[in-house]
């Protein structure tokens, strides 16, 4: 496999070529495919308000797949898109859900204590 920062440079070049000024940055992470094989999670951050067409979505995917294969990288790129604002909102949603889950767990523990005290 190719070194991660080299793959990142390659992905950045492909995205800039296809998406131009709508491309902000790319983040990579190792992932697992449907057969348990190694894949690459490629998260592409776009400028706010950008919506890609089906042709563009497929073109980026095909370009990335071919560029990675040509560089000797066997992992399939699993591409997803987001914006900085969506990342912020998703983090806030997750924190809210975690908080709610924590409060529910505390309530359940208090209920269990009360039940034990009554028993």
């Amino acid at each position: 496999m190719v070194i991660l920062h080299e793959i990142e440079d390659l992905c950045r070049d492909v995205c800039q070529g296809r998406l131009g000024a709508r491309f902000v940055r790319v983040a990579l992470a190792p992932a697992i495919g449907s057969d348990g094989e190694d894949t690459l999670a490629v998260t592409i951050v776009l400028t706010e308000g950008t919506a890609l067409t089906g042709r563009e979505l497929i073109a980026v995917l095909v370009d990335l797949q071919h560029a990675l294969t040509a560089r000797g990288e066997p992992r399939f790129p699993v591409v997803s898109y987001t914006t900085e604002q969506e990342l912020t909102e998703a983090a806030a949603d997750e924190a809210r859900e975690q908080q709610a889950a924590n409060e529910a767990a505390i309530d359940a523990a208090i209920d269990a204590d009360c039940d034990a005290g009554r028993g």
Partner: protein, 165 residues
Amino acid sequence: MPVPDYRHLFEQAQNLIAPSAAGPPRQVDLRRAISACYYGLFHFIAAHAADEFVGATCRPPSKRSAPYVRAYRSIPHGHLKAICGQGSGANSIFSSPLKNFMVTVLDAQDKRHSADYDPSVRYITRNVTDLLTEARQAVDDFRAGSADERRRFLAMVLFQQTKGK
């Protein structure tokens, strides 16, 4: 019972992410929507393969539907993945539209698997809208391929190569 309509699975994905007063779609709805996108493509392939090699006139509820159903149900996901992996490569014999279709199937399959089984992934609505847009484009790309290469692809999907004795 008619065969599942791939367009209905795409619509199901769309409905699962429709805005509501309760707030953004729940994670389980986003996961089901991603799964529906992949299964839309899967049923699209299964129906085309069975139509091509058994015949659309044998679709259920025809009394002659047994071989149709057998063909329809004979496509393992792993085999489909292998065929699409080979067929979408830079040196593949297939044209760009068919390669686009196959690479989208690979993408949707991995995303479906994560959506169904990986609890560590968090989804946003865009993940579904993008995959849905991509899947619909992929269907158009499949149709843009020549009849010969569509038939070749469907044959590879339906008939697995076995080692001769």
